[in-house]
Amino acid sequence: MAEMTYREAIKATLIEEMDRNPAVVLLGEDIGVYQGTFRVTEGLLEKYGPRRVIDTPISELGFIGAAIGMAMLGLRPVVEVMTWNFSLGAADQILQNAAKVRYFSGGQVSVPLVIRGPNGGGVQLSAQHSQSLESFYGHFPGLWVVAPATPADARGLLSTSLRGRDPTIFLEHAALYGIKGDVQDGESSVPLGQAEIVRPGRNVTIVAYSRMLRPALSAAQRVAGEGIDCEVIDLRTLRPLDIETVAASVRHTHRAVIVQEGWPLFSVASEIAAGISQRCFEYLDAPVERVTGADVPMPYARSLEALAQPDEAKITDAVRRVVA
């Protein structure tokens, strides 16, 4: 066991895989000479050289498409998108080629590709730079969609993704890079598609992932004082979605609150709420509550941005509502 930051956990995993597998190459804007916008790839160009750590032009469509082609021919590219907002320019390559070529080739072609980078908002980057795109990518079959909340999961889920043979949307979060946590030594891999109960409880199930796990936990802490015992589940993977773990929990708590940073409509929260209502129809004692980002483009002003996002207080209120 060693304590490391979320950033260090990702970097350590990249190094581990690059050392054991020469087919792993990194591509992205300013990941080399510049050392990475969020310093995740710091020093890797010096360590592995320009053929394996490739600085790219501002051509998301081009280099993500090229990475798909590399993967089809046997390399294992890991693309860093400076932020997921910029991946929209490459949506066609990700959704039409990476997610589908195995299928329309009748299984002849694999695309062992990981695309990683920060998702979400919270640091006043305003409308174009604060999007949470998991519900969008998660809608498309052919992709894996992962969103770790802790250094240990960042490490475990990334190493699983790097050894898989399918395209993985690996959603990090700028607000998490600096957080610390224990990570087991040596290789560690966390299976995709398995949620984790991070806090057992009896009265209410709170479902969260990525950056929202911490306010969910502190809200659970907070209401514990009021005698409300919350079970907190970290989804960790959004596609495939481990709805069973969530449903099993709600079958004994009878109440659920879902927390997500992104927009409400046609989202992860919609699916979880629908899945719970369907699977726990006989068990629910109250309607499922959803705490999501406001249905607005993200404003720049600090005060408005705060209003637009879920936080401990909003989660706490929702918990109180479901037990009321």
């Binding site: 046997g74 002849q108 052919g142």
Partner: protein, 340 residues
């Protein structure tokens, strides 16, 4: 010219090319008939008229080289040696198709022959080809990647970003890719001058430091001479190269298009005067390599191949229903637990 040809392309080779070209033309004509009969669904894009381009380039490829193209892809597969029955079965949506009937006409793919497809989004395959070329180079071998694209595809951002990456990586010898622009004068109903600010398409590659030239896309020999030189150059240097082949599409853009308001019957007739198969036939006859008997023999052989392909496709089974859920994710990685 006569010398060079004779010196570089033997009459036997020429005759062989003629045989192939007649065969793939018949294949496309049959595909259209099957489409009309409702045996083939979706979109069907025929290559008729452009045969000399793929024939010349594929002839210049090495067995271990690879290629990518768009949705007008049957002939590229056939020329690489993919069983015509498996291609026709794919168009028929049968389990015996190259892609188990899951891809259809726009996604003919045969990795065993280095044919990586077969893509339906205009220009969407170009970045793949550039990345694939990079991967080939990192093997330390000297394999080359061919990327066929249309005139219309050049106006798409995917082309621009991929071409710039090829130019950049080429400076380090890491982009052994040949861009072959099959300029058939139209992107659906939009002529080149109505879609591209500059009509000399080869010249646009200068913006990416990619050497380029044009060639007569109706003459397989002319194409082959350029192809061989260019491919070997790319193989040696690891740098990209672009060739604009001037050609023409005789068929409608897609088999579903019943009328073609964007061009006149007369124009098509004029262009048919330079039908690549006709030109080659005239040359072979002039050289005495081809006579009526030989011609009929080839024609009959081609028809037989196509009939067999159709019979095979027709009698093949539909994909079983389980196929709906296979090939989405790596079978080795169980969906519940994720990739291992």
């Amino acid at each position: 010219m006569a010398e060079t040809r004779v010196s570089q392309v033997t009459r036997e080779t020429l005759l062989d090319w003629y045989r192939r070209m007649v065969f793939v033309r018949r294949f496309e004509e049959q595909a259209e008939r099957s489409f009309r009969r409702g045996k083939i669904g979706g979109y069907l894009h025929l290559y008729s008229g452009q045969e000399a381009v793929a024939t010349g380039f594929v002839a210049a490829m090495r067995q271990d080289d690879i290629l990518f193209t768009g949705y007008r892809d049957h002939v590229h597969a056939l020329l690489r040696g993919t069983d015509a029955r498996a291609v026709m079965a794919e168009l028929y949506g049968k389990m015996t198709g190259v892609c188990k009937g899951k891809g259809g006409s726009m996604h003919v793919i045969d990795v065993s022959r280095g044919f990586y497809g077969g893509y339906g989004i205009v220009a969407g395959h170009i970045p793949l080809a550039v990345g694939a070329a990079y991967a080939l180079r990192t093997e330390g071998k000297d394999r080359v990647c061919l990327c066929f694209l249309g005139d219309g595809a050049m106006n798409n951002g995917a082309f621009h970003e991929a071409a710039n990456l090829a130019g950049l990586w080429g400076h380090d010898g890491l982009a052994p890719v040949v861009f072959i622009v099959e300029n058939n004068q139209y992107g659906m109903g939009t002529s080149v001058p109505r879609a591209s600010a500059v009509t000399n398409l080869a010249s646009r590659f200068a913006a990416y430091a990619i050497p380029n030239e044009g060639c007569d896309g109706m003459d397989p020999v002319a194409v082959f001479e350029v192809a061989r030189r260019v491919i070997e150059d790319v193989r040696r240097t690891g740098r990209p190269y672009a060739v604009e082949a001037l050609t023409y599409r005789f068929a409608a853009h897609g088999a579903a298009d019943l009328f073609q308001p964007y061009r006149s019957k007369l124009e098509i007739e004029e262009r048919r005067q330079r039908d690549p198969i006709l030109l080659l036939e005239q040359r072979l006859r002039a050289e005495g390599v081809l006579d009526d008997a030989r011609g009929q023999e080839i024609s009959a052989w081609a028809d037989r191949q196509v009939e067999e392909a159709v019979a095979f496709a027709d009698s093949s089974p539909e994909p079983p229903r389980e196929e709906l859920f296979t090939d989405i994710y790596d079978a080795a990685s169980d969906r519940g637990a994720g990739p291992r």
